[in-house]
Subunit: 422 residues, 2 copies
Amino acid sequence: MASNDKTPAHVVIVGAGFAGLYAARRLARAPVRVTVLDRRNHHLFQPLLYQVATAGLAPGEIAAPIRHVLRGHPRTQVLLADVRGIDLDRQAVKYDGGEIEYDYLLLATGARHSYFGHPEWEPLAPGLKTLEDATEIRHRILLAYEAAERTDDPVIRQALLDFVVVGAGPTGVELAGAIAEIARRTLRRNFRNIDPAASRVFLVEAGKRVLPSFPEDLGLRAEAVLRRMGVEVQLGAAVEEVTSSGVRVAGEFLPARTVLWAAGVTASPLGAEIPGVRDRVGRVRVAADLTVEGHPEVSLAGDMALVVDEAGSPLPGIAPVAIQEGVCAAENILRAIAGRERRPFHYRDRGVLATIGRSQAVARIGRVHLHGFVAWAAWLLVHIMYLIGFGNRVAVLWRWTLAYITFERADRLITRGPGAAA
Amino acid sequence: MASNDKTPAHVVIVGAGFAGLYAARRLARAPVRVTVLDRRNHHLFQPLLYQVATAGLAPGEIAAPIRHVLRGHPRTQVLLADVRGIDLDRQAVKYDGGEIEYDYLLLATGARHSYFGHPEWEPLAPGLKTLEDATEIRHRILLAYEAAERTDDPVIRQALLDFVVVGAGPTGVELAGAIAEIARRTLRRNFRNIDPAASRVFLVEAGKRVLPSFPEDLGLRAEAVLRRMGVEVQLGAAVEEVTSSGVRVAGEFLPARTVLWAAGVTASPLGAEIPGVRDRVGRVRVAADLTVEGHPEVSLAGDMALVVDEAGSPLPGIAPVAIQEGVCAAENILRAIAGRERRPFHYRDRGVLATIGRSQAVARIGRVHLHGFVAWAAWLLVHIMYLIGFGNRVAVLWRWTLAYITFERADRLITRGPGAAA
């Protein structure tokens, strides 16, 4: 079974996001036993989650069953399990159905959105991290138009047609752009009492510019494109209050019934089980080789790990960072098992991409800044390439081709009663 | 706007299933005003619902937004509304957001599954009528395997791997066949502690044969194919009790954790608002022209209407009957508006089809009986032809092609926590 005659080491991976799944794939062919624990049965391709939220893609098109992805590896086991805690001394992970011992542990349970000390805003302004979040946001957007079509009150109607997206990072920009397209294009001729184009989309950001993690020229470019698409961009505008009838931003109340949250994240609560220094959003500082201080058998990767680059800035919570960290952590575990020295993590920054709408994106690829159709084509290519599962890739390409031709969004589905938004 | 200079008549259609949607399409180009009310925003292609339940298709692939289907017709309005009652005297439909008056009313709200006086069985043995039902059944099937992989108890493990489908009509046959394929093919190599092929699938039927609404030779053929696929068919076996740990059938207890209900239907409760004779399952007897006795302005179509053929037998609750009734009811409304005589409904029986599994189906087309690959190809052709929405058609064809080649099912998604079945 293994290349040596001892019992193979047991590596437990908690979380099958980008970091955990790529680590599992790296370990799958090595002479170790691997157990992957996740609360969900699927790996989620989060960069396309906003398309599920805006009815462009179906949930199944950006998700793949974890055990299907790893089915070819007999020493790798997948357990659907809700991890409750870590016993670092006994080297055991406690989950809802028992506990499991490890020789090496990789924690990669990611992050959730955060409401800056206002958890009561969460039900009023949902964030976007899971498929459930995405279908919830989709329901709210579609039900707002349905309710607007039904009401006779012009004030309520406009409030139903107005959308506020909080936070102008990539997710906020993508959501705002997609909602503007739905209003201007997709829903045209679908209603009789309302004109969907009367919708207003507000993108509010506490910081000074759109896409703060991008080079400044690309942020300005994105802002200009958004304004051309009809999105009302408000910068330096902090959210002060969220209620069921709207949101107060920089002293002014916007009476919008649909408020979406793309403003902040907080690291997975499982990080609290790990000793060490934490940053403002709860990420745990790890050593250069991604292990936890005092526990070389425990590694962290992805959005819950605080890793800094050469300049001392924390690496952003994006898929390429998580993938590279997952692979590095896996390779270091194999080195430790082989009695070799672990290597420090070094992030190979290939660039960043954000899409705004039809034929519109911004991208930094290496040192080259791109925008417009070229950036959009690059965005499309990269996302299709990294999408896991051959069937999904073709299905998504087909949806996008059709959407590009028809302006239609293929998955405008509400699967619950009309009561919620009515 | 209309071809006469009076205010155009207002036709209200409740329910956008096959009967309601085809009626709306027939009326859309006529000089009448049409309002379609439905609790859901989508028309559902019910004949393929079992494929969503067994993870072969995504919900959005067999559903189309009603207002999208009808978007090209300016005199047709769609309202997402939960209809609460009918005031026949005032000619008004009451819904959750108000009421709406009609000149002509078409009721087509279909049927739900029925538990023969045991409503307490519903949460234990879900039926299959809506997308929510289908995702619930899908979750139960997939979570049963996940829980079986986790347990150490061999008795519980087998109970988790055993499936009971109650009712051997087309839905029951399709479900049982698909579950057997999932166990034998799709999940192969996905698990480490269990062998999915150790699953047993029981198809229990109180009547004397499989597919009672089909010609006898085709029912026997379907039964033989099911047995060859490993399905244990039990005929003349009435369900006496359903509990959370299994089902008692003809005196014997089957300890299966997953029980699915495909045994009986009952007409929509809205039928209770209509005077007239009802049959055992609550369908309302209508006149030959599909109108309600004493209320020529009210018509019924689809699964809630009791319509008999020349021999006096009730027409079955299948899509072709609903479609033809919907079109006939719409044409009779137009005849009444034009002052012409209404015509009696006459069902053009083109046949019946049921699929069992890969390359396996039975079909009666006119008087010709088909089985095996030819019947399966006919089934595939008919279902693709009738599936509404060009995008959906191509997506479904693609999924099926891929599934045929790979034995994989594309939409194995659980979108809630693991707690429920653990």
